[in-house]
Symmetry: D2
Subunit: 351 residues, 4 copies
């Protein structure tokens, strides 16, 4: 197998950092280009001292340039803001470079929805039809054939994987769903900003962005596709004083209030029995983010509140690995015929 | 005004610690007895070095004894487990000592509900009728006249204060309410236990106790009284890697889906305009736990998800001060004719 | 007693925040002016939601102006960067406004030392002779008479109070002293910056600034005055993943290697017996930062390493209260004839 | 190469947890026995949910039994308390099972020193002569031939690796050394105890154990061997509110006060040029624990305080991986002729 040459556009954020980490020990991909306007000229291992001594740490960070990308890369990972990605993706694709876009630019199939929630014009809407939503459990076959993959958002990954089995099998009403999600601070990015300073986040807990967080339409798009009808959900994210991890609590009314935990658990377990990264926890066990830290696992716990006729699903992922960079690598693995878990860290370092 | 002599039964937990802290600077109460079987014989300031040099730090911790309590105390704060409090309260009341019980033993009016959720026999059910639920905003007058006050739980305090205005004014349906609550680790107590070790809690987030957490019937009892009809809620608590603070997100369907944020906000603001500890935040501002740290404040933020026809209320308190010991002192203040906020820390030390 | 009118120049940092917090409940001082270029026009309680409802929260933040300061303030607290303070202090003093400067501009008596370590010209060196170093335990009388007080740095406060007794009584050699100090992240300020983001600080520990941290000459100046001879120390600060607190470990060789813990402890205890904020812990007990959180206490623990002939002194303070804003208020109290501890929070909220 | 069958005696602590984690992805070792009295009967993946789905997670935890160990294991890792290990090691060795002991029982060559510091009789002192101190950089050849390896303590690992180059090359005086070390809370173990509860550790910092911490004689033994003369050091550990990581600051007087940073740095760099796990950081860069998280790296930064004639060395490791379980695996790799880094995680997951 020829080594896949990978370009990393945007290294200064946490998604870029995580991509660099995974690529450094990937047996079949090699980091051949690392781009950042602000850090150009530095060696990657000097910018990220934790990479010192690892493969790729000697690479010199450069300013993004399509010609260089075209000659140096088989695939480009775009870890740049929404709006920038839609400018870069077309020229990379034209040049024959496959693209995994970690921004939101190609996730929403309906350009009007994109423009409404992201409040900017979509300048590459012609590429939306061919972009594949990069959730391997749902779209592995399409991802394998794709040139452009839209890497899912972190909250949508946790929410969709959590809700999938219940919606697919019709055990919950689809019109009264609440998703109360909580994320570690790395989800807020690595930009210098007062609200994400240590002293503002530590020993504090707060909601934000409700009810207009941009991950809402992405969640609704995918859940609607599963349900086969349009769905609206209430989605509320919160900031947890931790570095990594997302836990989503999904509340929904049972279609049959008599359904018990054992039967619903069996349904979930069966649904995911062939998906090694989805761990349906034993009935009575609830997930925690630490158990999926740094990994591709999605731990799902379920709880039946029979007094209220409600199913409560808890879904935990690592926001940077499964919710961003690890998933991007998994997609790239599929795009190049590699095993989906190639090069992936297996499990969380605990404590 | 004569100084009120206060006894503190159970000092080794976080509620006892917080009571000792507040009493140390209370201008009209004096700590005259501090009981703990395990720590008897030590000086309070040696057991809690942060109290060294403060009033009360020289008191010697003793084993609880009803005779000593009867002669030394005008009021006793019970910071002991449910089950123990119901044994102590009757003899204290008989001896003429007023009681604020921080356990759950006297919170639920219906003894059957207590026995079902707490899985133990109630041996002092004759006292339930006279026990007053110690939430000052709702029951100040009754608290003033009470001999026995049942201090509310931490989650119920946040939940009831958050939901009150919306239920009272009938703007939400009462049959489809979800309360997704998050608490700092001090809520789990100061018992030596692996799950609350630093390395298990830090950089981790997890739900627990769902759907049978014991605060559920307490929340339902009080919300039902406000609503004037029986209510069932789904209540899910989570553990946040922080020391103090609770934030509850309350999800409910609007009775009139056309109601807008401005009108609902006005209703909340008006409801609480005479309650200095309830801060209804400006429309668009959401609460965070750090802003209420160590104080009696309850910060409430509201959010209308008009797409889903849903009202989302966020309510933040300090679990140890407002949710336990501060509220107990406020109740005691009322019971002795002192200003309700006498001796209370005013605001959070930030950061 | 007439209420002292206090101006706060520079509110957006943690020192300004802490000053606002203490002033809000100070019985004899009133915040009459709060200045910040970036936040001008906002109400203080909107900028700092934790202050909402407290005295002073309705004040409108304004741009600093000497005329306004002259008419509105009896005293000005300068919570501005070194370099800016030396510009403001002279005009305030000329206008009859007393000044407590929280920056380093007036701490060093020798202008050459200032210019060497701070790498800028001192433009108000004429005021150095009259500036008093605001450590109440050492200079209370001078502070009482001062118009301009140079509020000590946080590390120097912990280091000087810790080392004082040992140097004063000649029990350690003054030529081989190491001060290994550790601080919470609030010491790094509230400026938006990547290195103080939550994800960079949390679960991490690192030294910084060695061996040229600017608090070095300040420590040396004061220790030399105590010793009566010039001293050089090795001073190394570290960043701890916590919000508040400093702990300094001071290592020195004993002049008499036979001295035992009991006798040294007695000496420390006697030295500080009349200083209510200095708590010399029992022999065998070491300090921790949580016990002094939000307070003016300095907890000192001592340890004799008799194998090595070395005295190790541990000194813990709250960097924002004792190490900055609380100390500034204490100084202002003295300058206006108030009790030194007037308006001061008494003790740490634990946990 | 035949797969090495590994037994893990003592799985309930953090060292056992980390061993289980590393073994789960080790290509040439297989976990064949996991022992814990308290957890016997559970599957490893149920006890440690983060291991679910990984190799070894289906193994059933059992009570330790020498017969079972003899038949199931080529090597046993002892993650049990000092005192217990000395009972198990002899019978395992007799049965032909190699042993890596993570306790302190076989680290000190002088039985009298052991008995003085650990305050218990050594019942297997006959094995001390053949036990090899398992620091690969110093003793790789001996480890390769050993049957019994004494895995170094966490603080000693950081201290010895940090000080090695300076002592070896005689650039510091060996009679005036201070080691001020700081560790994350996992170093305190996974025992249920109040002082390591989240609420006691978080937002707090404190020294402990000085001046009689049991790692002192271990550090002195190894530094003395390097120096070729008996050395005494002052060693003080502190508890940092983080999960993993140790940073040691080593203070020593330069033999030649004129030596500059560049020359000393060159000496360090040269000393470790062939040791891939020792990263001597560029002059002017100081280490931080996050950069070595979960890895075998030891990051060393040096600083010359020329005013004081002092060398300050900072040494950072991960206390659980390099300071315990990773090092134990590295030793086992050597003992079975595997590459020393076989199966080892390469780098820290950041943030």
């Amino acid at each position: 197998m020829k080594t896949v040459r990978a370009g990393l556009i945007g290294i200064s954020g946490y998604a870029g950092m995580e991509l660099a980490r995974i690529l450094a020990s990937h047996p079949s991909m090699e980091l051949t280009m690392a781009c950042s306007r602000g850090e150009a000229g530095k060696k990657l291992g000097d910018f990220y001292p934790f990479l010192r001594g690892m493969p790729g740490s000697d690479i010199e960070i450069c300013v993004y340039d399509i010609k260089k990308a075209a000659s140096a890369c088989d695939i480009a990972f775009l870890a740049v803001p929404a709006g920038t990605a839609m400018q870069m993706a077309p020229e990379l694709l034209e040049a024959g470079v496959k693209v995994v876009d970690l921004s939101a630019d190609f996730r929403l199939h309906d350009v009007a929805v994109y423009e409404q929630w992201y409040r900017q014009k979509h300048t590459a809407s012609g590429y939306l039809a061919d972009a594949v939503y990069g959730l391997p459990e749902l779209y592995a076959a399409s991802i394998s054939r794709a040139k452009l993959v839209a890497n899912p958002g972190c909250y949508p990954t946790a929410s969709i994987l959590g809700a999938y089995a219940a919606i697919k099998h019709g055990i919950i009403h689809t019109d009264n769903i609440v998703i109360d999600a909580k994320s570690g601070a790395s989800g807020a990015g690595r930009k210098a900003a007062v609200p994400t300073l240590f002293c503002e986040v530590s020993d504090n807990f707060r909601p934000y962005g409700a009810p207009t967080h941009r991950h809402t339409p992405e969640i609704e798009q995918e859940l609607s596709l599963i349900a086969g009808r349009d769905m609206i959900v209430s989605f509320v994210p919160h900031l947890v004083p931790m570095k990594r991890g997302i836990l989503a609590a999904i509340y929904a009314n049972l279609t049959d209030k008599k359904q018990d935990l054992a039967s619903i658990h069996a349904l979930f377990a069966e649904t995911w029995s062939m998906s090694p990264w989805i761990r349906v926890l034993p009935a009575g066990t609830l997930p925690e983010t630490a158990n999926v830290r740094g990994s591709m696992y999605c731990d799902i716990g379920i709880c039946v509140d029979s007094r209220a006729g409600r199913l409560i699903i808890f879904s935990a992922i690592d926001n940077l690995c499964r919710g961003a960079s690890g998933q991007a690598i998994a997609d790239a693995n599929l795009m190049f015929g590699l095993p989906v878990n190639c090069g992936m860290a297996d499990m969380a370092p605990l404590p």
